[in-house]
Amino acid sequence: MDIERQKSAPVYEALERFRKQRVVPFDVPGHKRGRGNPELVKLLGEQCVSLDVNSMKPLDNLCHPVSVIYEAEQLAADAFGAAHAYFMVGGTTSAVQSMILTACKAGDKIILPRNVHKSVINALVLCGAVPVYVNPDVDNHIGIALGMETSQVEKALNDNPDAVAVFVNNPTYYGICSDLRAIVKLAHDRGMLVLVDEAHGTHLYFHEKLPVSAMEAGADMAAVSMHKSGGSLTQSSLLLANHTVNTRYIQQIINLTQTTSASYLLMSSLDISRRNLALRGHDSFEKVSSMAEYAREEINSIGGYYAYGKDIVNGSSIFDYDVTKLSVYTRDMGLTGIEVYDLLRDEYDIQIEFGDIGNILAYISIGDRIQDIERLVGALEDIKRLYSRTSSKLHNAEYIAPIVAATPQEAFYADKELLPIRETAGRICSEFVMCYPPGIPILAPGEQITEEIIDYILYAKDKGCSMQGMEDPEISKLNVLK
């Protein structure tokens, strides 16, 4: 990484130059630097609305970058050790989908773990590729899906030599990493691409003590949520590519679904966040790691909670752990994660990232301060004092192995009927069912419904998880194939 070059921020600088030119706008957006919408200016501020401008020669165009956006993307590629980087304005969802649409055509097989984000399976609905799931290992105590065991990946690759790509989470929402270097070697030996979802891994690129990043491990493409640990605005993201993929083809794929009016607020936030990461990321993530470690020690000393860290690494399905994550197992207190999540928000004014059946995840970032950590720990201690109960035997399996009976695309577009959920066992589901967050499907289009899955869905709903993806928001009915 060329630190001197990283000090510049081409998109941001071009916007500054443009602002000083005081160009009279006879183009879109119609609010004309906010003058046409004073209420919006009051809400967002003059500086913000004046940056909301259209693509034009001095500011380049995201659909076909040739000047300042291209330079900014080159700098991002350099900062992340990639051959090329693409600014994405449709969230990491758009980056994930662009990876899959680049790698797969209709009928192609893609090998992936089941605990992928819904955006991955949505991409399969779009392109008609066939998922081959590698069942992730499940930790029976904390009840979460872990990484993929390398031997399981190898078996899937050997069983499906015609597959075109392997998809890997690095890390999972909970911070768990598979052995990415080994998976890259296995896939490349067989001529398959490796696509990596790094929605929760932007920071991996900026600290040597953190798990290996996709580009460093030699993966072909990676989707990086700059707006999560990278500090840019919500909905902005990066797609990274290595020398092994045709960068022009990726741009064409991106342009299939991307807006032609990309927001300069999002792009400039990517640009200055990349600069910040390149110049100060190492120090920031050192601080974030130590805050998370401190929180882990303090939470574990309360008793009753289990804040797991590097101690769960097992060399295989948990090849490495991202210590910036703060995941806490709550079930020994007799409370589900979602209950603790709700208590923290409703009673203590603390909003955490999510709660699932057995765990909570608090997101620690460069914006946190130690006194806020003390609040979180204090609140958890108080919750133990006021709300803990003897842990009863409750559902603990967060992961149920899917039975793929049709491709996501076939199932999504097939003739279907809406049935009461209890009557759907044995049928093939045509829609998604997931708790959001984390947004990992319990059922995806094309999967067979079982009694076990129905029990789990109703239990999660009863515990207050926000259930999404289905046509019937109450989830009393499910769409199944006729």
């Binding site: 006194q371 003390e374 720990v377 204090g378 201690e381 004092r385």
Partner: protein, 288 residues
């Protein structure tokens, strides 16, 4: 020279104090601290641009937060002061002989040092041999403490700044746990007058009311506070601030005060109707 310090009490109301000179300005890990010399208020200290106390009106605040609970609780031996790095609260507490230990927990060491340098009248309270000053986060200090104190005084002023954690349910819960079965907690309750501050004031009462069996609010007039009007909270496991007030016992001590008296004590709990109403609303909200 026309030299003024200004503090925005709301986006539409500004309080200004004429300043002779600025004596100190530095940023710590927690806050920016400034000290000014002024003709009207003497020396005053600000944190991130808000007045924390001035020589001229600090007595009101320190007396009201100490003598009110001390005139109610029959025998206080161990006290915890959260914040209070200026020493004013410790100074008032040091007049009571039966107190054996005063823990002052102030996260910001620089705050303590600045007060020692510029406000020795307050800071002398910290020199009392019964006082133990710890530079630590209040919530962190309280963690794991159980059945230890007779009185906890939350001397932190700002529910939005670096001490926000001390105006939360987890803080009140931690205090409840750290107090003996007849313990009392008093705390800053903010100002109810401006719309901007009202919600914070309501939320504080809601949380304390839920955490303690007895939770009352009392008032004082402090010129440098927003609208000049300030509330304190009195949360207690056993003693009622009025029914258990023992004026005779307190007056026998013969303490010299400028603001507090046992007559005022009773009056301080008689609140304006609008304040009474908003507190009642929060109590009602909890019962639903």
């Amino acid at each position: 020279m026309d030299f003024w310090f200004s503090e925005m009490h709301t986006s539409n109301v500004k309080m200004s104090i004429r300043v002779d000179k600025q004596l100190f300005s530095k940023e710590s890990d927690f806050q920016r601290i400034d000290v000014f010399e002024s003709p009207e208020f003497g020396k005053f200290l600000t944190s991130d641009g808000s007045v924390i106390f001035s020589e001229q009106d600090e007595f009101t605040y320190d007396e009201m937060i100490v003598h009110v609970p001390m005139a109610v609780h029959p025998c206080v031996r161990k006290v915890l002061v959260i914040g209070g790095g200026d020493g004013g609260v410790a100074r008032e507490l040091s007049y009571y002989d039966e107190i054996e230990q005063i823990d002052v927990v102030e996260p910001d060491e620089m705050f303590v040092n600045v007060c020692k340098e510029f406000f020795p009248d307050n800071a002398k309270g910290l020199d009392d041999p019964r006082v133990i000053v710890t530079n630590r986060d209040g919530l962190r200090f309280l963690r794991g403490k159980q059945d230890e104190y007779d009185l906890i005084i939350n001397d932190s002023t700002d529910p939005f700044g670096h001490t926000a954690g001390l105006f939360t349910k987890e803080f009140y819960g931690s205090c409840y746990k750290a107090l003996h079965d007849d313990g009392i907690m008093v705390y800053q309750h903010g100002s109810p007058f401006f719309d901007e501050d009202e919600e914070a004031c309501r939320a504080m009462h809601r949380k304390a009311y839920k955490s303690f069996p007895i939770s009352r609010v009392y008032q004082a007039h402090i010129p440098t506070c927003p609208s000049g009007y300030w509330l304190f909270g009195f949360a207690s496991k056993k003693y009622h601030p009025l029914k258990d007030l023992d004026p005779e016992r307190w007056n026998k001590r013969g303490l010299k005060t400028w603001y507090y008296s046992t007559n005022l004590h009773a009056g301080a709990f008689m609140l304006p109707k609008y304040v009474e109403d908003l507190l009642k609303e929060e109590e009602g909200a909890e019962k639903k």
